[in-house]
């Protein structure tokens, strides 16, 4: 089973929402474990997971399906959303704010009591089975006017907020994911936590748990820890020269 370390009541909330056929919205910063949580919970509930990474060219028909030419005839191919409905799976739309507006229009009827998808090309209305569930995620920390979820959309979902795990949990996660020892994990968590304080200095986000795991993996694979940290934490967090220097100095003072 995929590794996931609960950080709060998220499992209970998700399971209860799933029982009541309610859609879920996951909010949280980059790399804090939103997608991992969905994978874990899908396995736990024994449901198939279909993940769609949203981007600006993703249209409604990309989700629902389309006709394709096959030999001399045409065949209908379900999109990931239709497939999820037919199979009673969890459809996970990752970073949903990146998608075009019509994508949200398509999923609206699936997020209320109708729980149905109308396929106009086929003239068919598919009713979602009880096991079907729609999960969307986004990162509210982007602060961009172009990357916001409308209030009317947000209110259709049960919301679960994620943040970086507590120190002890993060140490445990890093050790489990990378195989590093506790001391290294603690140092990395210390670095991660400190870098998150840089948000007051204009950095949009601090080091994610994911990037800390990368650093740990590089170290376990043989790179010195300071080099592993500089290649992951310092390089990936900012292009601002001054902030990079401050982060570099942080790595030195924390690791010694």
């Amino acid at each position: 089973m995929v590794y996931y370390r609960p950080t709060g009541d998220e499992i209970a909330v998700f399971e209860t929402a799933a029982k009541n056929k309610l859609p879920i919205l996951l909010k949280g910063p980059t790399g804090c474990g939103k997608s991992r949580f969905v994978r874990y919970i899908a396995e736990k509930l024994g449901r198939k997971l279909i993940t769609v990474s949203c981007q600006e060219d993703l249209s409604g028909s990309d989700l629902t399906g389309r006709f394709l030419l096959e030999g001399g005839s045409t065949v209908w191919r379900d999109g990931p959303l239709t497939t999820a409905i037919r199979e009673g799976a969890i459809c996970y739309l990752d970073e949903v704010v990146e998608a075009r507006a019509d994508v949200l229009t398509v999923i609206h009827p699936l997020t209320d009591d109708r729980r149905a998808l109308h396929l106009d090309r086929l003239g068919e209305e598919i009713e979602a089975p009880d096991d079907f569930m729609i999960v969307i995620s986004y990162n509210p920390g982007y602060q961009s006017v172009t990357k916001e979820l409308k209030e009317s959309t947000r209110q259709r979902f049960v919301s679960l907020s994620f943040d970086y795990p507590e120190e002890e949990a993060e140490v445990e996660i890093i050790m489990a994911e990378s195989g590093c020892d506790e001391n290294v994990a603690k140092q990395l968590v210390r670095l991660g936590k400190a870098s998150r304080n840089l948000r007051a200095h204009g950095l949009k986000e601090g080091a994610s748990t994911r990037i800390l795991i990368y650093a740990a993996k590089l170290h376990v694979a043989g790179l010195p820890l300071d080099l592993a940290c500089r290649s992951t934490l310092v390089g990936s967090l900012t292009d601002d020269e001054e902030m990079s220097k401050a982060l570099d100095e942080l790595v030195r003072t924390v690791l010694g």
Partner: protein, 677 residues
């Protein structure tokens, strides 16, 4: 004698709190003298002494961003920055020297700034400056203050050495720097030669000197104290230990007829009076500390007796303390609920209706009938007056709007010399080019867009899909072309610049620079934009000064206005935001952004201050959000509570507090880029 009390509404950091001892009558009582003198010491901005001379080491400004970022990261505290020599803190601001002594070595000097910063933050963070009784004691006694400071700073350094293994080498390097270890009592330099040997153990690992030999018997107590501090790792135990050891050492030094042990310069200076002022100001502190240091009081009394009570305590202009206090007390007595308070007016029912009718007659404020309020749909909420627009104001105490409470005028701003604008552009050519290059990428959406009804090329995947539909017997989609689009961004931005009196000086000049640089960047970007300055004190004379309107092209008249900002008045922020939202709401663009540059809390004459101003501004921001206007703030408020009230007004993540004013010009375009990317 009862301890003197100072008025609660006296702002300890208010600009221009001026004390003229000359104004105090000769027959002053002890209490009055204390009050006047202490006020000048305690309720005045922190002392800022620039390091004299031209051959300084690395100036703080050169490394400040890195140092502040590093300190925030390792301590988790974001203190606002200021200047003081030696370094100090009041718990909300970190004061570092504007420059260190020569020679300049950027790496070593940056390390020195970091250590100075972490000592000051550590003293606060670890709770060494949180005990009122102790602060009161060290405030009155320099020997105790020095002893306590040295031991507490040692404990702070030990703590961070353990927490941050890499810091040990930095501390060691700093302790060996002669410029860092120069000794001082308060701000007076003390030579290292001939220092009493009883003091010497206190400086172990902090600083050293070749003339210092082995410490003899008289140094035994100091050695034991230092060793005890080094041994102890539990923080609560350390606090008790240090308090006790400091008192014991004080007795010991006094028995040896010694004064306060001087401090290595980089340990900075502890100013208990600043913390006590804050505690006293907050309400329940023991007032005894205000009696001040005994020698100071004796000096004042002696001078008064000799007829020499003319000690000038601070720069003096305008009315003195006594007249200020008198007028404030008088005002308070006349209006115990705070002047124009509405708290005794009926909020609902028939009583309210009649009050409103009466108020209408008397042109006094009225209240909204309910909370379902919208500035753009309720006629009475915003209507053009002969000279501007009328807006309501949110009164959080009544949970209701004061109808038609403010009027916002939006005249053309006063211009000035064109040279000012040109000079800023000339001086900042490199920065402007950088901003323009960054904005070029935002200028237009430049890409092939499929799914068009017409265009120079076929959108092949859609053609295939259409053919498939035809083949399957369905009506095909007719959006089969693609075209290269160069659409302007569907966004509009209005920048509101705080031109209230508080910005006068450094903030205004930074705002001026930022406005010109931002305008130069936006000029090249095909995004409709406007610049307005805001100020105003009275509810009916809030003003949005038009620096550049949406429809105005860039010409000399606009340059003259943009290049000549003037500051005066207060910040009735809610009204200004509502008027800006009204202007933006009428725009056709789908994304409307309001960027606010401000330097402090929304405060204007009357009761528009504190929670009232904050709550009204927050409500104005919410009203705008309902109508698709996104409001962001760039704050130049360097006080520690800025993030708290900015979160209340703009919401989490919708503001940016700059660590120094100089960075505004470049951070503003960055913020804008972040908002629309």
């Amino acid at each position: 004698m009862a301890a003197p009390t100072l008025p609660k509404d006296l702002d300890p950091y208010e600009d221009g709190v001026e004390i003229d001892v000359d104004e105090i009558p000769d027959k002053l009582t002890d209490q009055e003298a204390e009050e006047a003198i202490l006020a000048s010491y305690l309720f005045s901005p922190p002392v800022r002494q620039l390091v004299p001379g031209v051959d300084n080491g690395t100036p703080l400004s050169q490394v400040q961003r890195r140092v502040s970022a590093w300190l925030s990261m390792v301590t988790g505290r974001h203190l606002a920055s200021g200047y003081s020599d030696p370094s100090s803190t009041d718990g909300e601001n970190l004061f570092l020297p504007p420059a260190v002594a020569a020679p300049a070595d950027e790496m070593a000097d940056e390390r020195l700034y970091r250590i100075m910063g972490i000592i000051q933050i550590g003293l606060v963070e670890l709770g060494f400056l949180s005990n009122k009784g102790l602060l009161s004691d060290i405030h009155k006694d320099w020997v105790l203050r020095s002893t306590y400071h040295i031991l507490a700073a040692r404990a702070v350094l030990n703590h961070y050495r353990r927490e941050l293994p890499g810091l040990a080498s930095d501390i060691e390097a700093v302790s060996k720097m002669s410029k860092a270890g120069a000794l001082r009592v308060n701000i007076t330099p003390v030579p290292k030669e001939g220092l009493p040997e009883a003091f010497l153990p206190l400086y172990r690992d902090l600083t050293s000197h070749e003339s210092w030999g082995e410490a003899g018997f008289s140094a035994e107590k100091a050695r034991q104290a230092v060793e005890a501090v080094d041994r102890e790792t539990s923080l609560p135990a350390l606090k008790l230990l240090i308090s006790g050891q400091a008192v014991a050492l004080r007795e010991h030094f006094l028995s040896l007829r010694l004064g306060p042990p001087p401090l290595p310069w980089y340990l900075g200076i502890v100013r208990p009076e600043w913390f006590l002022a804050k505690m006293g100001y907050d309400g329940d502190a023991d007032e005894d500390w205000k009696k001040g240091q005994l020698p100071l009081r004796q000096l004042i009394q002696a001078r008064a007796k000799l007829g020499l009570g003319k000690r000038r305590a601070a720069t003096i202009e305008g009315p003195g303390l006594r007249s200020r206090l008198k007028s404030r007390f008088k005002k308070k007595l006349e209006s115990p609920t705070g002047g124009a308070s509405l708290s005794n007016q009926p909020a609902y029912g028939a009583a309210r209706d009649s009050a409103q009718a009466k108020a209408k007659k008397e042109r006094r404020p009225q209240f909204s009938q309910g909370l379902d309020h919208s500035i753009f749909t309720v006629d009475s909420a915003t209507k053009p007056d002969e000279d501007g627009h009328i807006h309501d104001e949110w009164d959080f105490r009544l949970r209701n709007y004061r109808l038609a409470a403010t009027r916002v005028l939006s005249p053309e701003a006063q211009g000035g010399s064109l040279d000012n604008y040109k000079q800023i552009v000339q001086t900042h050519k490199a920065e402007i080019n950088k901003i323009r290059r960054q904005f070029e990428a935002l200028r237009i959406e430049e890409r092939w867009r499929g799914g068009e009804r017409d265009g120079p090329e076929l959108d092949l995947p859609r053609v295939v899909r259409a053919l498939t539909d035809i083949h399957a017997g369905y009506q095909p989609d007719d959006t089969l072309f693609r075209r290269f689009i160069r659409d302007p961004q569907d966004v509009t931005v209005m920048t509101l610049v705080d031109l209230s009196g508080s910005t006068h000086g450094r903030i205004l000049s930074e705002e001026q620079r930022a406005v010109v640089l931002f305008a130069e960047g936006l000029h090249r970007l095909s995004v409709p934009h406007a610049f307005y300055g805001f100020n105003g004190t009275a509810p009916t004379s809030c003003t949005l000064h038009r620096l550049k309107g949406f429809a105005e092209p860039y010409d000399d008249a606009v340059y003259k206005r943009l290049g000549n900002l003037r500051a005066t008045g207060g910040t009735r922020l809610g009204a200004h935001i509502r008027e800006a939202h009204r202007m933006l709401a009428s725009r056709s663009e789908s994304r409307r952004i309001l960027i606010l540059l401000s330097d402090g809390k929304p405060e204007a004459r009357g009761d528009y201050r504190g929670e009232y101003g904050i709550e009204d501004s927050a409500m104005a921001v919410k009203e705008g959000a309902k109508h698709g206007v996104k409001t962001h703030c760039v704050s130049l408020d360097f006080t520690a509570d800025a993030p708290t009230y900015l979160t209340k007004i703009f919401g989490k993540g919708n503001f940016l507090v700059l660590e120094r004013a100089e960075s505004l010009a470049l951070r503003l375009p960055e913020l804008f880029r972040g908002l629309i990317c």
